[in-house]
């Protein structure tokens, strides 16, 4: 019995959207290598939608698979939709995670949300009148 579901393994072995976006609209970094996991998400926003999502992740197989899955799920979403993306839906989409790895899915959603917050903050700071929710 492998520790991870097939879908987790696929996303771990062949992670999608690894990398960074040089001129990202928002960057979110969560976690801490001291605790074993750290994720950086990069987003490109166009018409209030996530046009591109990339990540770099330091962490276990689950952390990498979660990052890959979050990036795929988020791409194309509106910001509001992406902000509503939950750890539970990520874990579900991955066909489940071992209980002791569920925190990885929290981290994935958190990193994405942090990148969006970063974008909203910067945008607010640019003076176009839109405030961070």
């Amino acid at each position: 019995m492998p520790v991870y579901s097939e879908k987790v393994m696929d996303n771990f072995m062949n992670p999608r959207n690894v990398g960074e976006i040089a001129d990202a609209d928002g960057i979110g970094e969560v976690g801490n290598p001291v605790c074993g996991d750290m994720m950086t998400f990069y987003i490109k926003v166009r018409d209030n939608r996530l046009e591109d999502v990339k990540f770099k992740t330091f962490g276990c197989g689950a952390a990498i698979a979660v990052s890959s899955m979050v990036s795929q799920m988020a791409t194309g979403m509106t910001l509001d939709e992406a902000l509503k993306l939950t750890n539970a839906s990520v874990a579900e989409e991955l066909g489940g995670l071992p209980t002791n790895k569920l925190h990885c899915s929290n981290l994935g959603a958190d990193a994405l949300h942090a990148a969006i917050q970063d974008y909203l903050k910067k945008k607010g700071g640019n003076g176009d009148g839109r405030k961070a929710e």
Partner: protein, 396 residues
């Protein structure tokens, strides 16, 4: 998988064919209870006596009756710590252990702390070595037990146990040692070491799971962990796991006979790993002592990445290794051993442990040296830490 290279003998060893063969009759016709007084008890009872002598022989015990069979190293360690401490509690309630003991020792001590005992955890140096003088200094008038492992299972460092025992003896404190990592691998002699109790486990030297032992010197008082019947001289109740004990006995005898050749073979493989891996993969640190280490453990930290991904990708190439303590790799905590050795937490996340077995060869090392660097490279490309490192280098 194209190849199958098992390099995780600290987590589990395959059983020797001789061991399985010796066990089979006790899974078949000799199923009886060794306590039975009728004919069905004779063979199992004899088998226990033989295994007890074989295990006693492996660790140089004077009397087979001093060997108490348990179900695993964890049970033997729990029994040793709790049983020796509880037996001595009228004299005092202070225990000295090292900071890098196995969890079965560490958490047994924690449990005793909840029952009013106190403990000092003696630190280790960057090689994982305990300073004997530090143990001596930690001993108080109310210290009733010292437990220092013979060698650590994660980094392989062998402790100066004889010196530690001598200093403890001068202070009249009994010493237990967890020798799961050493017994069956390198010479372990309870008389020479001078200890009062010693834990060993059959499944660390090609015996089966389900049999381990606590050797307790005659005359040493110990309170049983498992209360009940009259097995093991009343010190460990429960129907004896005869087939597993038989297997452990045979494995012990073979381990003793083949020890020199096994050591030579493991040392060659270990040294090849210790030399070639850091050469093949930049930012790789060897953990453990340069010379005072068991022949069958090569351990590293590979920077900027985390161990689980490495070992899973290696597994997909047919190579089995482990990261952190084999027994605790699912605990999600950084290794307390590496932490005690002062390895920064993010570096400790990249720990990688090769447990070398009797079938491993230099060809296996070639395979690792071929398979691992691209895996590390790939994970580093994914790692924000490596990114930061590279940028800091460019900046600097």
């Amino acid at each position: 998988m194209d190849r199958h290279i098992y390099f995780d003998h600290a987590a589990a060893t395959p059983l020797l064919p001789e061991v399985v063969d010796a066990m089979l009759p006790y899974l078949h016709e000799h199923f009886g209870n060794p306590s039975s007084l009728h004919a069905w008890g004779d063979a199992p009872r004899e088998a226990l006596a033989v295994a007890r002598a074989q295990v006693a022989g492996l660790v140089g015990a004077a009397r087979p009756e001093e060997v108490i069979f348990t179900s695993c190293g964890t049970e033997a360690n729990n029994m040793a710590i709790k049983g020796l401490a509880m037996a001595q509690q009228a004299r005092g309630k202070h225990i000295v252990i090292s900071a890098i003991e196995h969890f079965s020792v560490l958490y047994s001590v924690r449990t005793l702390e909840k029952r009013g005992f106190t403990a000092t955890l003696v630190p280790v140096d960057k090689y994982g070595l305990v300073d004997p003088q530090a143990v001596a200094d930690a001993i108080q008038p109310d210290t009733i037990l010292v437990s220092i492992m013979h060698a650590n299972g994660e980094v392989g460092t062998i402790q100066p146990l004889k010196e530690i025992v001598q200093l403890a003896k001068e202070r009249r404190v009994p010493v237990h040692t967890d020798a799961v990592t050493t017994a069956g691998t390198i010479p372990v002699d309870v008389m020479d070491l001078g200890v009062d109790a010693l834990t060993l486990a059959g499944d660390s030297f090609y015996g089966p799971k389900g049999a381990a032992a606590l050797w307790v010197k005659r005359g040493t008082r110990i309170i049983p962990l498992l209360d009940g019947g009259i097995q093991e001289g009343g010190r460990r109740s429960g129907t004896e796991n005869v087939p597993a004990i038989v297997g452990m006995g045979v494995a012990a005898e073979i381990a003793k006979a083949k020890m020199p050749e096994r050591i030579a073979q493991a040392t060659a493989v270990r040294d090849a790993l210790l030399n070639r891996l850091p050469a093949a993969i930049p930012h790789t640190i060897v953990t453990g002592h340069p010379t005072q280490r068991v022949p069958d453990i090569a351990s590293f930290c590979i920077e900027f990445i985390e161990g689980e991904g490495m070992l899973m990708l290696l597994s997909s190439k047919g190579i089995g290794v482990s990261s952190g303590s084999a027994c605790t790799s699912r605990a999600l905590k950084g290794s307390h051993v590496l932490e005690a050795m002062g390895v920064p937490a993010e570096i400790a996340q990249g720990s990688m442990l090769f447990g070398i077995g009797i079938d491993n060869t230099l060809v296996d090392v070639d395979a690792v040296i071929e398979a691992l660097p691209p895996i590390v490279e790939r994970l580093r490309q994914m790692s924000p830490l490596y990114d930061k490192y590279l940028k800091s280098q460019k900046g600097g």
